[in-house]
Protein backbone atom coordinates (compact mmCIF):
# COMPACT_ATOMS: atom_id res chain seq x y z
CA UNK A 1 0.00 0.00 0.00
CA UNK A 2 0.92 3.67 -0.06
CA UNK A 3 2.01 4.13 3.51
CA UNK A 4 5.00 5.65 5.20
CA UNK A 5 5.41 5.21 8.91
CA UNK A 6 7.85 6.09 11.63
CA UNK A 7 9.21 3.89 14.40
CA UNK A 8 9.17 6.44 17.23
CA UNK A 9 6.89 9.43 17.77
CA UNK A 10 9.36 11.32 20.03
CA UNK A 11 13.15 11.40 20.22
CA UNK A 12 15.20 13.23 22.88
CA UNK A 13 18.85 13.94 22.11
CA UNK A 14 21.58 15.75 24.01
CA UNK A 15 22.79 18.94 22.36
CA UNK A 16 25.94 18.18 20.40
CA UNK A 17 25.13 14.49 19.94
CA UNK A 18 24.08 12.92 16.67
CA UNK A 19 20.37 12.25 16.03
CA UNK A 20 19.01 9.36 14.02
CA UNK A 21 15.37 9.38 12.94
CA UNK A 22 14.03 6.22 11.35
CA UNK A 23 11.23 5.59 8.90
CA UNK A 24 9.69 2.51 7.29
CA UNK A 25 7.83 2.50 4.02
CA UNK A 26 5.69 -0.21 2.51
CA UNK A 27 5.58 0.49 -1.23
CA UNK A 28 8.54 -1.16 -2.93
CA UNK A 29 7.73 0.83 -6.09
CA UNK A 30 8.46 4.16 -4.41
CA UNK A 31 11.00 6.08 -6.44
CA UNK A 32 11.85 9.14 -4.42
CA UNK A 33 12.07 9.91 -0.70
CA UNK A 34 12.20 13.22 1.09
CA UNK A 35 12.80 14.35 4.64
CA UNK A 36 10.97 17.46 5.85
CA UNK A 37 11.39 19.51 9.03
CA UNK A 38 8.36 21.26 10.46
CA UNK A 39 8.76 23.82 13.21
CA UNK A 40 5.83 24.96 15.30
CA UNK A 41 3.52 27.26 13.34
CA UNK A 42 5.32 26.72 10.06
CA UNK A 43 4.91 24.61 6.97
CA UNK A 44 7.21 21.66 6.23
CA UNK A 45 10.70 22.62 5.09
CA UNK A 46 12.67 20.45 2.67
CA UNK A 47 15.82 19.00 4.24
CA UNK A 48 17.21 16.36 1.91
CA UNK A 49 16.01 13.85 -0.64
CA UNK A 50 17.19 10.59 -2.15
CA UNK A 51 16.21 8.58 -5.21
CA UNK A 52 15.64 4.86 -5.11
CA UNK A 53 18.80 4.19 -7.15
CA UNK A 54 20.96 5.53 -4.30
CA UNK A 55 21.58 4.26 -0.78
CA UNK A 56 23.17 7.32 0.80
CA UNK A 57 23.14 11.04 0.31
CA UNK A 58 24.82 13.73 2.38
CA UNK A 59 23.99 17.35 2.94
CA UNK A 60 25.12 19.94 5.40
CA UNK A 61 25.09 18.13 8.80
CA UNK A 62 22.49 15.70 7.48
CA UNK A 63 22.74 12.27 5.87
CA UNK A 64 19.92 10.15 4.50
CA UNK A 65 20.32 6.39 4.24
CA UNK A 66 18.03 4.19 2.18
CA UNK A 67 17.81 0.43 2.60
CA UNK A 68 15.51 -0.88 -0.10
CA UNK A 69 15.87 -4.48 1.04
CA UNK A 70 14.03 -3.80 4.28
CA UNK A 71 12.22 -0.66 3.06
CA UNK A 72 13.85 1.56 5.65
CA UNK A 73 14.91 5.17 5.53
CA UNK A 74 16.86 7.13 8.12
CA UNK A 75 17.88 10.74 8.69
CA UNK A 76 21.07 11.41 10.60
CA UNK A 77 21.70 14.88 11.99
CA UNK A 78 25.26 15.53 13.14
CA UNK A 79 26.05 17.66 16.20
CA UNK A 80 22.42 18.36 17.01
CA UNK A 81 21.67 21.99 17.85
CA UNK A 82 18.71 23.63 19.66
CA UNK A 83 17.46 24.89 16.30
CA UNK A 84 17.00 21.30 15.18
CA UNK A 85 14.02 20.93 17.53
CA UNK A 86 11.05 20.21 15.29
CA UNK A 87 8.86 17.46 13.90
CA UNK A 88 10.56 15.48 11.15
CA UNK A 89 8.57 13.76 8.42
CA UNK A 90 9.72 11.22 5.94
CA UNK A 91 7.76 11.31 2.72
CA UNK A 92 7.69 9.33 -0.47
CA UNK A 93 6.82 9.86 -4.08
CA UNK A 94 5.58 6.74 -5.79
CA UNK A 95 6.82 7.24 -9.33
CA UNK A 96 8.24 9.76 -11.74
CA UNK A 97 5.44 11.81 -13.28
CA UNK A 98 3.37 11.42 -10.11
CA UNK A 99 4.05 14.53 -8.05
CA UNK A 100 1.89 13.46 -5.10
CA UNK A 101 3.95 13.28 -1.91
CA UNK A 102 2.86 10.84 0.79
CA UNK A 103 3.86 11.84 4.31
CA UNK A 104 4.34 9.69 7.39
CA UNK A 105 3.10 10.74 10.84
CA UNK A 106 6.28 12.45 12.01
CA UNK A 107 8.85 12.23 14.82
CA UNK A 108 9.24 15.06 17.30
CA UNK A 109 12.90 15.76 18.06
CA UNK A 110 13.66 17.27 21.51
CA UNK A 111 17.10 18.72 22.13
CA UNK A 112 18.27 18.43 25.73
CA UNK A 113 20.63 21.14 27.03
Amino acid sequence: GESVGLHLPTLSVQEGDNSIINCAYSNSASDYFIWYKQESGKGPQFIIDIRSNMDKRQGQRVTVLLNKTVKHLSLQIAATQPGDSAVYFCAENIARGDDKIIFGKGTRLHILP
Binding site: G43, P44, Q45, R96, D99, K100, F103, K105
Partner: protein, 112 residues
Protein backbone atom coordinates in the same frame (compact mmCIF):
# COMPACT_ATOMS: atom_id res chain seq x y z
CA UNK B 1 11.33 36.28 -3.09
CA UNK B 2 8.34 35.97 -0.76
CA UNK B 3 8.14 32.21 -1.12
CA UNK B 4 4.74 30.55 -0.88
CA UNK B 5 2.16 32.76 0.81
CA UNK B 6 -1.21 31.69 2.13
CA UNK B 7 -4.20 33.62 3.42
CA UNK B 8 -5.79 33.88 5.83
CA UNK B 9 -3.51 32.49 8.54
CA UNK B 10 -6.37 31.52 10.82
CA UNK B 11 -10.09 31.06 10.23
CA UNK B 12 -13.07 29.94 12.29
CA UNK B 13 -16.17 28.66 10.53
CA UNK B 14 -19.41 27.02 11.55
CA UNK B 15 -20.49 23.55 10.51
CA UNK B 16 -22.26 23.61 7.14
CA UNK B 17 -20.57 26.80 5.97
CA UNK B 18 -18.26 27.14 3.00
CA UNK B 19 -14.66 28.36 3.07
CA UNK B 20 -12.13 29.60 0.52
CA UNK B 21 -8.39 29.51 1.19
CA UNK B 22 -5.83 31.24 -1.00
CA UNK B 23 -2.27 30.53 -2.06
CA UNK B 24 0.35 32.40 -4.05
CA UNK B 25 3.16 30.16 -5.27
CA UNK B 26 6.87 30.84 -5.09
CA UNK B 27 8.08 33.04 -7.91
CA UNK B 28 8.65 31.00 -11.05
CA UNK B 29 6.58 28.03 -9.87
CA UNK B 30 3.52 27.04 -11.86
CA UNK B 31 2.34 23.92 -10.03
CA UNK B 32 0.35 24.18 -6.80
CA UNK B 33 -0.58 21.34 -4.47
CA UNK B 34 -2.86 21.44 -1.44
CA UNK B 35 -2.49 19.32 1.68
CA UNK B 36 -4.56 18.85 4.83
CA UNK B 37 -2.68 18.33 8.08
CA UNK B 38 -4.69 17.20 11.09
CA UNK B 39 -3.20 17.78 14.52
CA UNK B 40 -0.37 15.35 15.23
CA UNK B 41 -0.47 13.89 11.73
CA UNK B 42 1.48 14.25 8.54
CA UNK B 43 0.07 16.29 5.66
CA UNK B 44 -2.40 14.46 3.40
CA UNK B 45 -2.47 15.28 -0.33
CA UNK B 46 -5.74 16.84 -1.48
CA UNK B 47 -5.05 17.77 -5.11
CA UNK B 48 -2.64 19.45 -7.47
CA UNK B 49 -3.18 22.15 -10.09
CA UNK B 50 -1.15 22.82 -13.19
CA UNK B 51 -2.08 24.97 -16.19
CA UNK B 52 -5.33 25.88 -14.42
CA UNK B 53 -6.49 22.27 -14.30
CA UNK B 54 -6.66 19.67 -11.55
CA UNK B 55 -3.94 17.22 -12.48
CA UNK B 56 -4.04 14.80 -9.54
CA UNK B 57 -6.38 14.20 -6.65
CA UNK B 58 -6.05 12.43 -3.33
CA UNK B 59 -8.73 10.62 -1.37
CA UNK B 60 -10.92 13.62 -0.53
CA UNK B 61 -14.67 14.08 -1.20
CA UNK B 62 -16.09 16.39 -3.83
CA UNK B 63 -16.78 18.97 -1.10
CA UNK B 64 -13.13 19.86 -1.63
CA UNK B 65 -12.58 21.75 -4.85
CA UNK B 66 -10.02 24.13 -6.19
CA UNK B 67 -9.03 26.55 -8.83
CA UNK B 68 -5.85 27.88 -10.36
CA UNK B 69 -5.65 31.29 -11.96
CA UNK B 70 -3.55 32.43 -14.95
CA UNK B 71 -1.00 33.96 -12.56
CA UNK B 72 -0.60 30.46 -10.99
CA UNK B 73 -2.21 31.43 -7.68
CA UNK B 74 -4.74 28.97 -6.37
CA UNK B 75 -7.80 28.64 -4.17
CA UNK B 76 -9.06 25.73 -2.12
CA UNK B 77 -12.80 25.64 -1.49
CA UNK B 78 -14.50 23.41 1.02
CA UNK B 79 -18.30 23.19 1.08
CA UNK B 80 -20.63 21.93 3.80
CA UNK B 81 -17.92 22.07 6.45
CA UNK B 82 -17.70 19.28 9.00
CA UNK B 83 -16.04 19.37 12.40
CA UNK B 84 -13.50 16.90 11.01
CA UNK B 85 -12.38 19.45 8.43
CA UNK B 86 -10.61 21.34 11.21
CA UNK B 87 -6.92 21.20 10.27
CA UNK B 88 -3.93 23.10 8.96
CA UNK B 89 -4.26 23.49 5.21
CA UNK B 90 -0.94 23.71 3.44
CA UNK B 91 -0.16 24.90 -0.04
CA UNK B 92 3.00 23.81 -1.81
CA UNK B 93 4.40 25.03 -5.09
CA UNK B 94 6.85 23.40 -7.44
CA UNK B 95 7.97 23.24 -11.03
CA UNK B 96 6.27 20.55 -13.17
CA UNK B 97 7.98 17.19 -12.86
CA UNK B 98 10.06 18.46 -9.95
CA UNK B 99 8.97 16.94 -6.68
CA UNK B 100 10.91 19.43 -4.53
CA UNK B 101 7.95 21.31 -3.17
CA UNK B 102 8.08 24.53 -1.16
CA UNK B 103 5.38 24.88 1.48
CA UNK B 104 3.60 27.91 2.80
CA UNK B 105 2.92 28.42 6.50
CA UNK B 106 -0.60 27.15 6.14
CA UNK B 107 -4.10 28.28 7.07
CA UNK B 108 -5.40 27.00 10.40
CA UNK B 109 -9.12 26.23 9.89
CA UNK B 110 -11.29 25.57 12.91
CA UNK B 111 -14.85 24.35 12.36
CA UNK B 112 -17.18 24.78 15.33
Amino acid sequence: DAGVTQSPTHLIKTRGQQVTLRCSPKSGHDTVSWYQQALGQGPQFIFQYYEEEERQRGNFPDRFSGHQFPNYSSELNVNALLLGDSALYLCASSLPGNTEAFFGQGTRLTVV
